[in-house]
């Protein structure tokens, strides 16, 4: 960020007199605002898309009366939620009750910072990108647990406890399933990981096709991530038919809205990570976007990235509207008895592969065979 600030100061002589830290700070705020706007828009549009997709899957139409073809539905929902009465139950823990939605929202929003949207579009290319994502998304579990506890409602408490157990359990397979990508790129930075999948192999440069273990890894990641975002086969914390509405049962108005937005934010983060780590990120097949002018290269790569990520989100929605829900003991069993061991075995496999074949994937080897 500081480098960008220096170049900005150099480019605009008017800023020469301003202290560098001010420029940096202002830049940071501006970038944060852009990301927030993007995140909120995505989450709003996401909820609309979700309802449209749900409608399509369920032989319905979905929202189509609010604005042209229902496009403004999320705006109406948002404005209404903001203007709703904010109820804090009499026996709730007031401070924690108020705090919980922010934890959840911040946890999901902060992860947007390291998402590599394009060849040069990343708010902060942290060298510990993946690690950072795993860390901040863990905030969500604290928020959910707080919400469940502070509501002073037994359904909410059950939801919160379920969420805590579930997210903590599935954090491990999610992390383990992502490490193959880190190993191949040799870096924790998401931008590096994406770059490592470029080149002239096209889609076969993706980590997904690197070797059999990474291919498997992707599906492990996707399953575990579906659980971490509380999507349907694993939506126990808010199981509507069991726990009424789970941890957010006592939340109304915008506080509920924050939970709602965070849910879509989480979905996007998961899809973005899958895209970046396995599906080649913003890389355009058979084409080097870095060679284009800055603006066009970025726009193209942004488009590619968003297309892939949205496709992943759609698949998640599809799964969500198709499958029934697991029971809580089955959920735990699935994580600890199947996903965790499998991801470890998989990780071992990838490591051995990289050791034996000196970091080359199958497509790379085939390509080198043909020169």
């Amino acid at each position: 960020m500081e480098a960008l600030a220096i170049s900005l100061v150099n480019a605009v002589p008017l800023l020469a007199g301003v202290p560098l830290w001010t420029v940096t700070l202002l830049l940071m705020v501006a970038v944060a605002a852009v990301i927030l706007v993007f995140a909120l828009t995505f989450e709003g549009v996401g909820s609309l898309v979700l309802r449209k997709v749900a409608g399509d899957i369920q032989a319905r139409i979905g929202p189509n009366r609010v604005g042209p073809n229902g496009m403004l539905q999320f705006l109406a929902d948002g404005v209404k939620l903001v203007l709703k009465e904010d109820i804090i139950p009499a026996n709730a823990d007031r401070l924690l009750f108020k705090l919980a939605p922010y934890f959840v929202f911040v946890g999901s929003f902060a992860a947007f910072v390291v998402v590599p949207f394009g060849v040069g579009l990343i708010a902060a290319d942290l060298n510990i990108g993946i690690y950072y994502v795993m860390a901040v998304t863990s905030l969500v579990v604290i928020g959910v647990l707080l919400a469940g506890w502070a509501s002073n409602n037994k359904w909410a408490l059950l939801g919160g406890m379920r969420a805590a157990a579930q997210i903590v359990s599935y954090e491990i397979p999610v992390g383990m399933a992502l490490i193959p990508a880190v190993l191949i790129a040799g870096s924790l930075s998401l931008q590096d990981i994406v770059r490592s999948q470029g080149g002239l192999l096209g889609i076969f440069g993706w980590n997904l096709f690197h070797n059999p273990f990474t291919f498997f890894s992707f599906f492990l990641y996707f399953t575990a991530a579906q659980a971490e975002t509380n999507q349907t086969p694993f939506d126990l914390p808010e199981a509507e038919s069991e726990l009424v509405s789970g941890y957010n049962v006592e939340y109304s108005g915008i506080r509920f809205g924050l939970f709602f937005l965070a849910e879509f934010g989480d979905m996007f983060i998961v899809a973005a990570l899958a895209t970046a780590c396995f599906l080649g990120g913003w890389n355009v097949p058979f084409f080097h976007v870095g060679t284009l002018p800055w603006i066009w290269g970025n726009l193209l790569s942004l488009g590619v990235f968003l297309t892939k990520a949205f496709a992943m989100v759609l698949i998640m929605m599809w799964v969500r509207w198709t499958l029934p829900r697991l029971r809580v003991d089955q959920l735990m069993r699935m994580s600890w008895k199947y996903l965790v061991p499998l991801t470890f075995v998989n990780l071992l496999g990838v490591s051995l592969w990289l050791l034996v074949f000196r970091g080359k994937g199958i497509p790379g080897m085939i390509a080198s065979l043909f020169g």
Binding site: R65, Q73, A76, L81
Partner: protein, 187 residues
């Protein structure tokens, strides 16, 4: 769940229904002559958002509940209007009282209504919720109309009302919402 004191006093047992009837002469949802243009537009915007996002509480007690479900399903699809069901009263804007209310159920109805955040609306769906319906004369344990318990905005007749009637009721409620004044002088 405890009743919420922040909401103000719960409605007493006495009948407080000064509910506007949905049907009848509806003034156009435009601006009053004295309304400030800014305020008027804000009102329009706020009311528009409220009417477009009527999340209803899944409160099906009897027969009408099935029609309510069918109205939310494929053929009628209330989601078109932005009306989706919520399981918890805290997140609902609209209480669709679908079915018979008995005396044993009565204080639950009141409590659920109290738990909903303002602004909240009530649609009384079907004869039972309107007046006690077929059980008016001979039953000893049916409340003769949900308006004895909570204020009702729209009454939908029928036993049970068809989904079309229910959608008409929701649209009537939308008209009522568009007439509300949120800013400036209390109307």
């Amino acid at each position: 769940m405890s009743p919420d004191p922040a909401h103000g006093q719960p409605p007493g047992p006495g009948p407080p229904p000064a509910a506007p009837l949905a049907h009848g002469s509806a003034p156009s949802p435009g601006l009053g002559p004295e309304a400030h243009v800014m305020v008027g537009n804000a009102d329009l915007f706020v009311n528009w958002s409220r009417k477009s996002s009527l999340w209803y509480l899944l409160f099906a007690t009897a027969c009408c509940g099935i029609e309510l479900m069918q109205a939310g399903a494929s053929r009628y699809d209330m989601d078109r209007f932005g009306a989706v069901f919520r399981a918890t009263p805290r997140q609902s804007d609209l209480m669709l009282v679908a079915g018979t209310i008995t005396h044993k159920m009565a204080d639950r109805v009141k409590r659920l209504y109290d738990q909903m955040p303002e602004p909240k609306y009530v649609i009384s769906m079907g004869s039972c919720a309107n007046t006690g319906g077929p059980f008016y004369k001979d039953s000893y344990c049916v409340v003769k109309g949900v308006d004895l318990l909570i204020p009702v905005d729209v009454y939908i007749p029928g036993c049970p009302p068809r989904p079309e009637a229910l959608i008409d009721g929701i649209m009537s409620l939308q008209k009522i919402i568009m007439r509300k004044k949120n800013f400036g002088a209390k109307a």
